[in-house]
């Protein structure tokens, strides 16, 4: 297998102060390239019959999910297990949170076990910072409110790079409910950081005012998709149609105007979606199931990228991880 230690020596160094992954805004392009290269180095390990690496043996990763999640929580759990870390997964329902415990107290309680990493998903922006402030663990943001979902953006970059061999110079159209999407915010930043051009496409009520300052273009016309190399479809949440929250006159009109259909795509374009999909709403089932869709690749990328994130945060720690890898390589 690839010697991670050797790969690492060729990578840009991790700044010593970087202990958490909370926002793409905290990363440099060097950071992103290092993480993607590390993820690539894990690919071969996953092709072996024995998929487990001893790299994070003796380390503890806590997955703390206050919102429901299938792909992100399972992806983090498997990533930690592939690296031989001990994993503890906690869901908000059925926990002390139901008894009115504050996030601070939950974090202090879990922090008392001395976990190396806390992966947190929470409905509110800033929850990961709060956990970082009250524990000594490395904190990975697995989604905070409408703010950030940095590992999603990294796996999206990874997927695009695997497909196109580059990110620089590509044009990505992000389609749909940008207003409520943490994926969109992380992706805009990550793509801009890596030199891609981003156009947001959707109804005016779902494109937040002022977002062009992040370095993207805006179009309310679905025809703008045609120029893109990648069409990134966002999930259209049904609750946005509820009374008092009616961002659209109807789901039907949304689909008619902004649904991604085969007719609206041109050959050679690739389609991505962070999941879970609403087939027949934001994405036509024919698009979702087509060869051009990279949706399953995104899920696979998620595993190696999250392994890379855990590895990157922990290999500057006190345990002799390099030695463990060397032992494995030997």
């Amino acid at each position: 297998m690839t010697d991670i230690r050797l790969v690492r020596e060729e990578l840009p160094p991790r700044p010593p102060g970087r202990r958490h992954l909370i926002s793409i805004a905290d990363l440099t392009r060097d950071d992103v390239e290092r993480l993607l290269a590390t993820a690539r180095s894990f690919e071969s390990a996953l092709e072996r019959e024995m998929k487990k690496l001893p790299t994070l043996r003796g380390r503890t990763v806590v997955n703390l999910f206050f919102e429901s999640s299938t792909r992100t929580s399972s992806s983090f759990e498997l990533a930690a297990k592939r690296l031989s870390a001990d994993v503890m997964s906690i869901k908000a329902s059925g926990s002390a949170v139901d008894k009115g415990e504050s996030l601070k107290d939950t974090a202090l309680t879990l922090g008392a076990y001395g976990p190396d990493v806390i992966v947190i998903r929470h409905a509110h922006i800033g929850a990961p910072q709060l956990v970082a402030a009250v524990t000594s663990a490395h904190v990975v943001n697995a989604g905070d409110g409408k703010h950030q979902h940095p590992t999603q953006a990294l796996l999206d970059l990874y997927t695009i790079e695997q497909e196109f061999g580059r990110i620089e110079g590509l044009h990505v159209a992000i389609v749909g409910d940008v207003l409520h999407s943490r994926v969109a915010r992380s992706d805009i930043q990550a793509l801009a950081l890596c030199g891609a051009r981003v156009t947001l496409v959707g109804p005016p009520t779902l494109i937040p005012r002022g977002i062009e300052a992040m370095g993207c273009d805006i179009s309310y016309d679905i025809g703008a998709l045609r120029d893109a190399d990648v069409v990134y479809v966002l999930r259209m949440q049904r609750e946005r149609m509820e009374e008092g929250e009616a961002y659209m006159p109807s789901l039907r009109e949304y689909t008619a105007r902004w649904g991604v259909t085969p007719e609206r795509l041109r050959p050679g374009q690739r389609v991505m979606h962070p999941g879970p999909m609403n087939r027949g709403v934001e994405i036509d089932p024919r698009v979702a199931d087509a060869q051009e869709a990279l949706i399953e690749q995104q899920v696979r990328s998620g595993l190696v990228v999250r392994m890379a994130v855990l590895y990157d945060l922990l290999t500057h720690g006190p345990v002799a991880v390099e030695a463990a890898v060397a032992e494995e390589v030997a």
Binding site: K104, A127, L130, R185, A213
Partner: protein, 435 residues
């Protein structure tokens, strides 16, 4: 009945020697000494006889009329764990204030003479500086029925407001402006159009778009400012606009004033010093209503303060229990404390960089807010009750949690070093703070 209530004490005999006396109301800016007998200024001159009085050597310091804060949340009754009349007025004394106005959005709301009477009674026992209590415009601040304004005024209300909430109904706002004229007190409004601000946690703009927070657009404020100014103009009544945050609001106020409307406006230290960029820290101590806005809004407020369109600095001192602010930004309540830091924050951010003169700042922190509520402006003159603040513009100090007299410490300035320090406060003839 008087509108300011406090614990009476022994009035002071005092001589303050050699300060730069700066009183924009009396038009004084000179190195003078001031003698206070029995809490009243009796002599003002280059040399005054000490007559055995306690002497305060004030060489190199600025002596000004003490400050008036038109916007304080004392959290009493109901949330005495966050602030009490005693701790809130101690904080006011430390901030250089000789009078503060307390908001009625308590538990219960100050909407009856009975609730107000109990507060007046308590203030007469524990208020370190004079406090005026504003009563609600509508019963329960629910925006449906007017409070008994005439009775409330007779029981000592200093004015009327539904602060914390807007008066949503234009019809009720009009009735309030008509009816309150009986009382001789002012109406003050919190301008917010709730269907535009709903779900908003910060100013709507590029920063909220990037961070993903629900936006609270400036038009949610300015729309209501425009509406209320139009009603005040139509009724020919005065109106005070609280905690302005948007440039459009300042512009509307300026036009109304030019057209002869007796409207006044206040701005807070945090809106004058910070912008929505501060929210990138995700610190719940920069979450307030109205929210911190864009640089152009801040600049318009500073300009308004300089020209006098915005004639009052108001702290909107809003204490919160620590556990309520130790949560993610979106879960945190709106509001920050400000009584103990207002002068220093504004001295550091506005006077030192040359944006506003010290004289103007002193006027907007004292006479400006007093006039907005029809109160006598504090001044330094023979025969006037001593309401004085002694300021050290050369002193630096660090804002720390254990330095607060307030029962809460949700300050946006925690950990910062500020210039300008209050050395002495004399309120209603008594020394209430020395540092």
């Amino acid at each position: 009945m008087a509108v300011l209530h406090f614990r009476e004490g022994r009035p002071e005999d005092l001589v303050l020697r050699g300060a730069r006396v700066l009183d924009p109301v009396s038009g004084i800016d000179a190195k003078l000494s001031v003698r206070v007998d029995q809490g009243v200024i009796t002599q003002l001159g280059e040399s005054v006889q000490p007559n055995g009085h306690q002497i305060v050597e004030a060489d190199g310091l600025v002596l000004a009329p003490a400050f008036v804060d038109p916007h304080v949340h004392l959290r009493t009754p109901g949330r005495e764990d966050e602030e009490s009349i005693a701790t809130g007025t101690a904080a006011a004394a430390a901030g250089g204030y000789c009078a503060i106005l307390a908001m009625p959005n308590t538990e219960p709301v100050v909407d009856s003479a009975a609730v107000l009477g109990a507060l007046v009674e308590r203030a007469s026992q524990e208020a370190n500086v004079p406090v005026g209590f504003l009563a609600a415009i509508s019963k329960g601040q629910e925006g449906r029925e007017l409070t008994e304004m005439a009775d409330l005024a007779a029981a000592g209300a200093a004015g009327f407001t539904d602060d914390g909430r807007p008066v949503v109904s234009a019809g009720l706002m009009r009735r309030a402006l008509q009816y309150h004229s009986l009382t001789g007190r002012r109406i003050a409004v919190h301008c917010e159009e709730p269907t535009l601000s709903r779900g908003g946690h910060m100013h709507e703009g590029p920063v909220s778009a990037e961070l993903g927070f629900g936006g609270y657009p400036s038009v949610a404020e300015s729309l209501m400012v425009g509406r209320d100014l139009a009603i005040a103009a139509y009724e020919g009544q005065p109106l005070h606009l609280m905690h302005l945050s948007a440039s459009e609001s300042v512009e509307l106020l300026q036009h109304a004033q030019a057209a002869g409307v007796r409207a006044t406006g206040e701005a807070t230290p945090h809106h004058l010093c910070l912008t929505d960029e501060a929210v990138r820290s995700l610190d719940p101590n920069v979450k307030m209503n109205p929210p911190l806005r864009a640089e152009q809004d801040r600049a318009a407020l500073v300009d308004g303060l300089r020209t006098g369109v915005v004639s009052a600095v108001a702290t909107d001192h809003a204490p919160h229990a620590r556990h309520e602010k130790e949560v993610p930004f979106e879960e945190a309540p709106f509001g920050v404390t400000g009584l103990e830091t207002a002068f220093s924050a504004l001295y550091t951010h506005l006077v030192e960089p040359g944006l506003v003169s010290l004289e103007t700042l002193l006027e907007r922190m004292s006479a400006g807010p007093a006039r907005a509520y029809g109160l006598e402006p504090p001044r330094i003159a023979v025969g006037a009750r001593a309401n004085l603040v002694l300021l050290d513009s050369r002193a630096d100090w660090r804002v720390t949690e254990d330095g607060f007299r307030s029962r809460s410490s949700n300050s946006w300035l925690l950990g910062r070093t500020l210039s300008g320090r209050v050395r002495l406060t004399v309120a209603a003839g008594r020394v209430v703070h020395e540092a």
